[in-house]
Symmetry: C2
Subunit: 466 residues, 2 copies
Amino acid sequence: MTRLLDAEPVVVAAGVDVLADALADQAVPVTRVDWRPPVTGTQDDLTRVLRDSRRVEANAAAIARMLRSTAALVDVKPAREALGLQPGQFLHAGPPISWERASGPMRGALIGALLLEDLAATAEDAERILAAGDGISLEPCHHHGAVGPMAGVVSPSMWMFELVDEANGGRSWCTLNEGLGKVLRYGAYGPEVVERLQWMGKVLGPVLREAVRRAGSVDIKAILSQMVQMGDEGHNRNRAGTLMLLRDLLPTVVESGADARDVAAVARFVGGNDHFFLNLAMPACKLATAAARGLPGSTVVTAMARNGTDFGIQVAGTGDSWFTAPAETPEGLFLGAYGPADANPDIGDSAITETAGLGGFVMAAAPAIVRFVGGSVPDALRTTREMYEITLAENDAYAVPILDFRGAPTGIDVTAVARTGIRPRINTGIAGREAGTGQVGAGLVSPPTECFTQALGALARTTSGT
Amino acid sequence: MTRLLDAEPVVVAAGVDVLADALADQAVPVTRVDWRPPVTGTQDDLTRVLRDSRRVEANAAAIARMLRSTAALVDVKPAREALGLQPGQFLHAGPPISWERASGPMRGALIGALLLEDLAATAEDAERILAAGDGISLEPCHHHGAVGPMAGVVSPSMWMFELVDEANGGRSWCTLNEGLGKVLRYGAYGPEVVERLQWMGKVLGPVLREAVRRAGSVDIKAILSQMVQMGDEGHNRNRAGTLMLLRDLLPTVVESGADARDVAAVARFVGGNDHFFLNLAMPACKLATAAARGLPGSTVVTAMARNGTDFGIQVAGTGDSWFTAPAETPEGLFLGAYGPADANPDIGDSAITETAGLGGFVMAAAPAIVRFVGGSVPDALRTTREMYEITLAENDAYAVPILDFRGAPTGIDVTAVARTGIRPRINTGIAGREAGTGQVGAGLVSPPTECFTQALGALARTTSGT
């Protein structure tokens, strides 16, 4: 007791700020610890998973694979060639979903895809066929190693980028980006949507294929690395990435002997769509996260995906299981006269960027994005700093200049989310809830906590034998 | 006295920190004022200039003209057409200089220009001709409304960008950027330097001319505005700017009917040189600052330029006068085996970017640049914040995202520099001091204080009639 009174007190404060503030006002040095209680009801599962003797090594392996993954664009081809899709076979974003439970934009995109594939003459026809389900199959993109932004609908005649990860031996695919506004992935299916997709299949895809094949490959990971130095976060800002892709491909496009009008049209289409590179960022991130799949004991998240109804996550230690809960509706900025009432719940596989440490996780590198998704510049910095609390590694390939080149927070740990209650932050587009509307805005959203508590429970059950 | 002791003391501290720190340690609130004494010996001039009844209005006009200035690329043509340069007529960076006083890189660039113009067969020949001076004229680029990076040498057959300012009716020119390393503007003059310049005159210039004429014009100010959102500061980082120029021009280049091999070569040359856009940023900045020229009573700096020997500034209220002092040597990062001993003193008209509020003034928008010019990310933020102390306006066209979209600090005020002792901060390339070397590094530098005290004296003398 004497000793305690003799020396200067050393104060560590956790929880509410009022006590620490009172001491600081009296010029007493206080070390504040940002501690929060774990998510209610997770304590037993958390204890079991944290005690799992496989965990540390399995997570180290997951992180090593994610960080060493590479991503090279090696080909461009129709989905029927890339993934062997047959007529009537459709892929979509997020965890599995039926037509009955599908949201407006998902239904709109499927209607558009049937029109594109000439499986229906009108939207009403298409709806009937989809509701009946005869000869129609719906599966997640993720089940084919692919990813799709927003509705993420892929049909056999849509052209896709093909990427490879040389380090881990993976392969991933994504469709070509259509631009913003009235586009299929946001649930629009009018004639202009189908005509654009037809042009993409007839001109854009073949011109890009020729350029990529002549170039051999394009290093997508290197472009992502540069983008983070240039104000892009790889999810809702892909401006610098799109420009670097153009730079890398145009000389070979020009030399390919393609018709000059087609080349100019391709250059204008790609250059006029700041989001074009998103559809390359996403499969690059899918390669990194897929590399961590199938590691028993690992608590690293390998996918976060939304189908417009449910949010689902997958985890390295639990294989192909999805842990789902109702998707939340993003908050953000709306286009024109649209408002929050027009917003569909969260949709798209694009949260694969956050799963790999990009997107919302590196918002600090892209402060200008707050003018597109809402929030403030200090929020953007805070978001990135907070994501370090729930991730296992820092990816130096994606260094955030304003944080003194600190590597991107990478590898979401299910136990860290449960322990802190901090949820991943996702930058996302917002689709109109009515089929046929298209994009209504862009904003911020998080996965439901239940996805993580379910995953934690499943991880806990895998520990019984250890 | 009683009152003073009854109430809480309110403390304002200026000057050394030790007193303020002692109070802060005792939990006494202190408002710190960042005050420094004016530059020694400037007090009388400062008083006269600050009392000049024309000053406030003239500065307001200068700022209004700078902020409203536009910059459109409208043509590409040889200097003999653009500026009417005759054989033997050469322009150079910075204030006027003679061959005798010229530094190594300036001499090297002039030698290379004589070789390019076929006025000399060998470097030795060229040196003899330049030393004799017969039929040779040397003038600053600035005297012709032009600007040149580093040595800034312009000869009749070199091709130039032509930019116009529709709002103020100005016109400005700059040569095409050659890339980095062994290039004429850094004082190299070997065969590869001259051959590259010949190719630029035969292929690059004509292809770009055709594209610009077909496009009508390219909005350079709009690109600059975007660049600042994409990690460029427009002086030593022009990556996003170069990519946006490519995006804007390539479709028309492709449609121009030019040979596909030439188009591909141009796309590779421009896309392979992250600094290509510098030579468009500079004349855009020259247009903004030139608009403020010739306003009696105005204390706004209209040019900062270096010839490798002297640093010179021009001021709105003092017309064509140069205020010069020996240029300092930049400190920064060096290429390969080069070190500080290889560095030439500060050289180039590129400080026109800082004069217009870009370059070092918006380093906060380009934190990644510290890996090229040295310093730390906090230094970059501090530099931009400090430049607000010596400038009169914030340019919302160049908004710095990380500072919550605060406009670039614009319009250097000679009286503010004299009053605070804060000198403008310039990001710059570093040329080797030996003629023929080329680039040795990149770094940071400031104008000598004497340029500002001289300018202040001249401004004071113009007040005698008021």
